[in-house]
């Protein structure tokens, strides 16, 4: 839940001033497979905690990142497919994780009202006057 609240806080703060009233369609996250995030739980928490916020109803899109390690002894680099953190070449335990710990907000996607509503009936200048 703490992570969901942070996602919401950052996403809301990222909505540009002039688009405050637009609907946020998606929040795009990058999550390493070695993070403590369980996607289903995060989605559920996000859905509950985002109610009555500007990101209510937004879809949480989670892109997973493999766990990639480099051996500090022999330099071998590999993708960790199962929970074993020793070098498959030289068996050293002295490794550096290159990826897999990510927990980042990549972007948000906002419904583009100008594209959507202008088609025929609402040219820009007409709308300007009506305000």
């Amino acid at each position: 839940m703490g992570i969901a609240l942070q996602v919401i806080e950052i996403a809301v703060a990222s909505i540009p001033e002039d688009l405050r009233r637009a609907r946020v369609a998606r929040v795009n996250l990058t999550v390493g497979k070695l993070s403590a995030v369980v996607s289903e739980s995060l989605r559920f928490c996000f859905e509950v905690a985002s109610r009555e916020t500007p990101v209510e109803g937004a879809e949480l899109v989670i892109e997973e990142v493999d766990v990639v390690a480099r051996c500090n002894a022999c330099g071998h680099q590999w993708t960790i497919e199962e929970p074993a953190f020793s070098c498959p070449h030289c068996n050293s335990g002295d490794i550096t994780l290159i990826s897999g710990r990510e927990l980042d907000i990549r972007s948000i996607e906002i419904e583009d009202e100008t594209n959507d509503t202008t088609d025929a009936e609402q040219p820009d200048r007409g709308r300007g006057r009506s305000l």
Partner: protein
């Protein structure tokens, strides 16, 4: 997908690191981006993507760094103790403090979702104890840096050498939240099964030492201690593992020596 720095992400096979979780592959959702400026006649609205690129836990990490700076100024060593519920963290801590408090001034912050049960137990040590109930913070399953920072107002950091933070019992989320601590230990009891390190790899990667607790129960259990140790080593090959019984005091000396060594490196 846009600029993923790790090309490895694309070719993800079914990784078994988080056994309880399978996620759709990147790129399988459809984006209704507008094409070539032509008016769209789709049911889905066009969207505008706004780059953010921020770590979700930035705010926590900034607060953790502030805590760390304060702990350094005040010359306090901070230990973060984590485990699943019922592994014997509190009893282990009571025993540990009993042995350490002859030479070190200690205090404890203990986190639970609710109740002051652990704080009441810990008070027998004579160390100042601050209980945090996370239900005031949304019932969080872990302690975050700002929650610890707030508890610090109840502790005189000038009067202590060692601050132990007993985290909420949980092997998942606490591993993700830095609090500004100097060392992390995970307590795992032999009553929990040998598979825990494999199921919760992040916790065992993140910790600096593991305590294998309740070894006094081994004669009564179908527990393969060698397998448990080998599973921990599989996740964190170089991590010290101490077999202890908080009940009988068995095996405490090597653990206390390790901890004192770490404290000495920081406090001199």
């Amino acid at each position: 997908m846009p600029n993923n720095p790790t090309a490895a992400a694309a070719a993800a096979s079914d990784l078994r690191i988080r056994l309880h979780h399978k996620e759709g592959r990147p790129g399988h959702h459809s984006h209704p981006h507008s094409r070539g400026g032509a008016p769209e006649k789709t049911h889905q609205r066009a969207t505008r993507e706004i780059k953010v690129v921020r770590r979700v836990l930035d705010a926590n990490d900034i607060m953790a760094d502030q805590n760390r700076k304060l702990f350094s100024e005040k010359k306090v060593f901070v230990l973060n103790m984590m485990s699943s519920p019922g592994s014997g963290k509190t009893t282990t801590l009571i025993k540990t403090l009993g042995k350490l408090m002859t030479g070190l001034r200690c205090a404890v912050i203990v986190g639970d979702i609710c109740s002051t049960y652990d704080a009441d137990q810990l008070s027998v040590t004579g160390a100042p104890v601050v209980q945090i109930n996370t239900d005031e913070f949304g019932g969080d399953c872990h302690l975050a840096a700002h929650v610890v920072a707030r508890a610090l107002s109840d502790i005189d950091l000038d009067e202590i050498d060692l601050l132990v933070v007993e985290n909420v019992g949980n092997l998942v989320c606490p591993a993700e939240f830095d609090m500004g601590e100097d060392a992390r230990v995970v307590v795992l009891s032999v009553a929990e099964g040998e598979d825990k390190p494999i199921k919760y790899p992040l916790m065992f990667r993140q910790c600096d030492a593991a305590l294998l607790n309740k070894v006094d129960l081994l004669p009564y259990l179908d527990y393969d201690k060698d397998l448990a140790v080998s599973n921990i080593r599989q996740i964190h090959p170089e991590m010290p593992i101490f077999s202890v019984s908080a009940k009988t005091g068995e095996g405490f000396d090597p653990w206390l020596e390790w901890l004192k060594g770490r404290i000495k490196v920081k406090l001199g």
